[in-house]
Amino acid sequence: MGEMSEQIRRPTTVEELAAELAAGAAAGQAMEIGGAFTKRRLGGSATAAARTISTSALDQTLAYEPADLTISVGAGMPWASLTQLLADNGQILPLDPPFPGATVGGVLAADLSGPRRRRYGTARDVVIGMRFAAVDGKVVESGGMVVKNVTGLDMGKLMIGSMGTLGAIATANFKVSPRPETSGTCAFLSDSTDKLAKLRGRMLQGVAQPTALDLLNAACGRGLEIDFGADFVLLAEATGSEAVVKRSRATFETLARETGVEFLALEETAAQRLWRAIRDFHPASLEAHPKGLLLRISTTATQLGEALALLAGLAPDAWVLSRAANTVIWCSLDSWESGARTLERLRKAGHKTLVESAPPEASLERWVAGGPALEAMRRLKAELDPQGLLNRGRLWGKI
C-alpha cells in the first residue's frame, strides 16, 4: 500500500509524469500510480511499491467550449470539481462514481459509474480522447476532442478499467450532455424479488424508459439510511421535460399496480439524498464491513431474480444493491469467512461473481479468469509493462 515509499510524487505536467514512470522503470522499482488513492481496497490492492506517483497535481481544465459539448481536463482533477464546472454551464457528465474524493483519472482507471448508466452509459461511452504516460516515459494520445472519431486505435478503451496496470492516465476528454429540465424519482416496495424483477422487465419494455433503475434490499437501505420498511425496493428516475417526467411517472405507477407492488413518488430533496447515498454504496459498505467481502455479480436479466433470491436466502443481512437495468449486483457481507460460502454458491449457480474487495488474508479466488482472453490481456500487459512494475497486485494479480 505504498508504505515503502518515502513520499508521494506529484508531477505537475504530463511530461513530468512520464519522466517519473521512466525513472522508476530505469531503477526497476515497483510503482503505485493513483490520483487520490480512494480505492485502495478495490480491484485487488496494490502491493508495496518503492515509488508512489499521484496525478493529483494534473488538475487543470485544458479545454472547455460548452457549445461543443466537450471538455478536456487533467487526470488529477477531482471528479466533483469537474461536475461542478459543468453544472455551472447547465451540463452534466453523469457517471456518478462512488468515493467523494476521487479524481477523474481514478474514476476512469477503476471504470466506476452509477445509477444513470441506463441512459448515459459508462466511462467507455463518454470518453472521446485520452493521453497517458507509458512506463517507458512516452506520452501516448488516443482519440481527440470531437464526438465522432475513428482515427486510429481506440486506446482509451484499454486504459478504462485497467486499474493503472498499463500506464498512467494523464488527461481525459469527454463528451458531455445538457442537463435535463427536470427529474422525478419513484420507489416500488415489495417483499418479493420475483415481482420486482417482473416490474423491472415491464418498465424496460416500455417506451417511457427510466434514466436510472436500482434495486436494494432492506439491509442496504438501513446501512445507507434510506430505509423504506420493505424487504426490497426498486428505484426509478425519469428525466426530461415536465411532461415527460409526468408521463413516465404515470406509466410506472400503472405498471406497479398491475404487478402488485407498492408505489411511492418521492420529493425532489428526498430523491437527491437517496441517489447520493446510493452513489456512495461502495465506500459506505467498505467502512461498515472492514473485514468483509464485497462481491460484484455480473448476471443477465433472466437470472437477476434468481440471483437476488439466492442472496436473500444465503445472506439476508448482506447489503445488496443492483443496477437493475444493467443486471449487475453488488453484495457486501460483513465477514469474509462466512461470505465465502455465499460466493461459492453464487458461482456454482453460474453467476459470474467477482470479489471486488476482501481483506488481504482472505484466501479466496477473487476473479475466476482463464482462456485466450486472459492470455491476450497478459500479452498486452507484457508489452506495455514488461517488467511488471505498475500497480502490482491490481486486477487481483491475475494479469
Binding site: G121, G144, V146, V150, L158, P178, V244, S298, V328, A369
Partner: protein, 468 residues
C-alpha cells in the same frame, strides 16, 4: 482450402477474383484466393492454413467500406463472411442479439422491429453492409448523434486471431473484469482479429418520430442552427446538412421535394416519447427560424419522411449521375467550427476550381465534402488531391480529426502523422503486433506506410451499383 470449406466456396479464377479487388473506396488490390467459411471452426482452419503457409489474409463483409479496409495490399487469402450470415439468437429479455459477422446491418432491425426494437447504428450503406465490417470499422451513421456509434452497441465479440486462437470478449453480462478488449478490437480495422460472432445491443424503438426540413438561403445560417440547437440543450436523433450544390444533384435524381434554389437544408429528426417530440418540434422550429431559415417543413406522413431520407441516403448515387468520379471525405470538426469549416471548403473549391458538394452529419460535426473531378485530366486529379489534403488539414487545425466513421484504412494512413505524434503511432503499432505479430492480417492499413497519400482512382460501374 477446398477441403475445409467445400469446392464451391473457394474462388481463384482471375475473372472471379476481379470482383473482390475493390470496396466502396477508390482503392484496388486483388486477392490470390477467396474462401467463404460457414462456421468459426472453418475460419480457424483457414487462418491456420494461412499461418502455416505464411501468406497474408484479410476479412471481407460486403465490401462497402470507404477507406479500403478490405483491400488486399499484398495478395494472399481473403476470407469472405457472406455465408456466415445467420442471426443466431434474439434475446429481448437481455436486450441483445447474437449474430454472425455476415449479417446485414439493416436485417437486424428488420428481424426485431415487429417486437418494437431496433439496432441503432445506421450507416448509409446499412442495406448492404455487414456487422463484422461495422465492428471492424466502428461504423457510424446519421442516428449516432443521439445513440453513439458501433462500439457503444457491441456487448461482446468472438474473434479469431491470426494464429487461429478463438477469443471471446465481453458478453451479455455487464461489467466483466479485465481489459476492454472488445473496445480495442472495435475499430481496429481488421488488423488485430477476424470477427466471427457479435453480441449487439437492441434498443426499444421510439414512440414517435418527426422529421423536419429547414431551408436556408445561406449555408452559414444552417451551420449556425446546429450550434443554436446545442445551446438550447436540444440533441435531436439526427441532424443532416446538404448544401445547395448537393441538394440540386439530389433533387434531380430523387425528387425528394428539396428546393432547387436553396443555399442549404437541414434534415432534422426528433424521436422519443410523444410529449418530448411535440415540445422539441416547436423548439427546433424556433431555432431554425431565429437562424434565418426561410421555411421549415415537417413531414406529414411516413411516406413524406421516407422520401426526405431517401434523398439523403441516395446522395452519393445522385453525385454519380453528375460526375462518375468523385472523392468523399470524412473529416470531423467541433460543432462550433462547422460554419467556418464550410466556408473554408468553398474557398478551397474556388482556389482549385473544383466542384465540391457537401452532405454531412452536422449534429456531430462529421463533414463529408465530395470533390467532383474528371480522371482523364491528370492535372484535375492533382488539384483534387491538393484540395482534399487542404480540407483535412483545416479539420485537424480546427481541433478535429481526419475520419469520423469511414476509417483510416489505406486511404488516410499516411495522413496519420498529421494527427498523432510518433510515440502514439508507435504505441498503436505495438498493440496491433500483440495480436498480429508479423502483420500478416490486413497489412498496410491504419498506420502510415510512407507510400504517399490520397491516391484516387475512378470508380467502376459495378462499384457505383453496389456501394450506396
Amino acid at each position: 482450402m477446398r477441403a475445409i470449406v467445400g469446392p464451391k466456396a473457394v474462388l481463384d479464377a482471375p475473372q472471379d477474383l476481379l470482383l473482390y479487388e475493390y470496396d466502396g473506396s477508390i482503392e484496388k488490390g486483388r486477392p490470390e484466393v477467396v474462401a467463404f467459411p460457414r462456421s468459426t471452426e472453418q475460419v480457424v482452419e483457414l487462418v491456420k492454413l494461412a499461418a502455416r503457409a505464411r501468406i497474408p489474409l484479410v476479412g471481407r463483409g460486403a465490401g462497402t467500406g470507404l477507406s479500403g479496409g478490405v483491400i488486399p495490399t499484398e495478395g494472399g487469402l481473403m476470407i469472405g463472411f457472406a455465408r456466415m450470415n445467420r442471426i443466431l439468437e434474439i434475446d429481448y429479455d437481455n436486450e441483445c442479439a447474437v449474430v454472425e459477422p455476415g449479417v446485414v446491418n439493416l436485417d437486424i432491425t428488420l428481424a426485431v422491429q415487429g417486437a418494437g426494437y431496433y439496432y441503432a447504428p445506421d450507416p448509409s450503406s446499412q442495406k448492404a453492409c455487414t456487422i463484422g465490417g461495422n465492428v471492424a470499422e466502428n461504423a457510424g451513421g446519421p442516428h449516432t448523434l443521439a445513440y453513439g456509434v458501433t462500439t457503444n452497441h457491441v456487448l461482446g465479440v468472438e474473434a479469431v486471431l491470426p494464429d487461429g486462437t478463438v477469443i471471446e470478449v465481453g458478453g451479455k453480462e455487464s461489467d466483466l473484469p479485465g481489459y476492454d478488449l472488445r473496445g480495442l478490437l472495435t475499430g481496429s480495422e481488421g488488423t488485430m482479429a477476424l470477427i466471427t460472432k457479435v453480441i449487439v445491443r437492441l434498443m426499444k424503438a421510439p414512440e414517435q418520430i418527426e422529421t423536419l426540413l429547414a431551408i436556408y438561403d445561406e449555408p452559414a445560417h444552417a451551420a449556425d442552427t446546429v450550434a443554436g440547437l446545442t445551446a438550447r440543450a436540444i440533441i435531436p436523433a439526427a441532424v443532416e446538412m446538404l448544401d445547395g450544390v448537393m441538394l440540386r444533384m439530389v433533387e434531380e435524381a430523387t425528387h425528394a421535394g428539396y428546393p432547387m434554389d436553396a443555399g442549404a437544408v437541414l434534415l432534422i429528426e426528433l424521436e422519443g416519447l410523444s410529449e418530448a417530440v411535440v415540445e422539441q418540434l416547436e423548439q427546433v422550429r424556433g431555432v431554425c427560424l431565429e437562424n434565418h431559415a426561410r421555411e421549415v417543413r415537417v413531414a406529414k406522413s411516413a411516406e413524406e419522411r421516407a422520401l426526405l431520407w431517401k434523398g439523403r441516403k441516395n446522395a452519393f448515387g445522385a453525385v454519380g449521375r453528375i460526375s462518375p468520379t468523385y472523392y468523399v471525405q470524412d473529416g470531423v470538426v467541433p460543432r462550433t467550427r462547422i460554419a467556418d469549416t464550410l466556408k473554408h471548403i468553398y474557398h478551397v473549391a474556388e482556389k482549385y476550381n473544383l466542384i465540391i458538394s457537401n452532405i454531412f452529419h452536422a449534429g456531430d460535426g462529421n463533414m463529408h465534402p465530395i470533390i467532383l473531378f474528371n480522371p482523364r485530366k491528370p492535372e484535375e486529379l492533382e488539384r483534387t488531391k491538393q484540395a482534399g489534403a487542404e480540407i483535412l488539414t483545416y479539420c485537424i487545425q480546427a481541433g478535429g480529426s481526419i475520419t469520423g466513421e469511414h476509417g483510416v484504412g489505406m486511404e488516410k494512413n499516411d495522413l496519420m502523422p498529421l494527427v498523432f505524434q510518433p510515440d502514439s503511432l508507435k504505441m498503436m503499432e505495438r498493440l496491433i503486433t500483440v495480436f498480429n505479430p508479423d502483420r500478416r492480417l490486413n497489412p498496410g492499413k491504419l498506420l502510415p506506410t510512407g507510400k504517399g497519400c490520397l491516391e484516387i482512382r475512378p470508380m467502376t460501374e459495378s462499384q457505383k451499383a453496389t456501394t450506396w
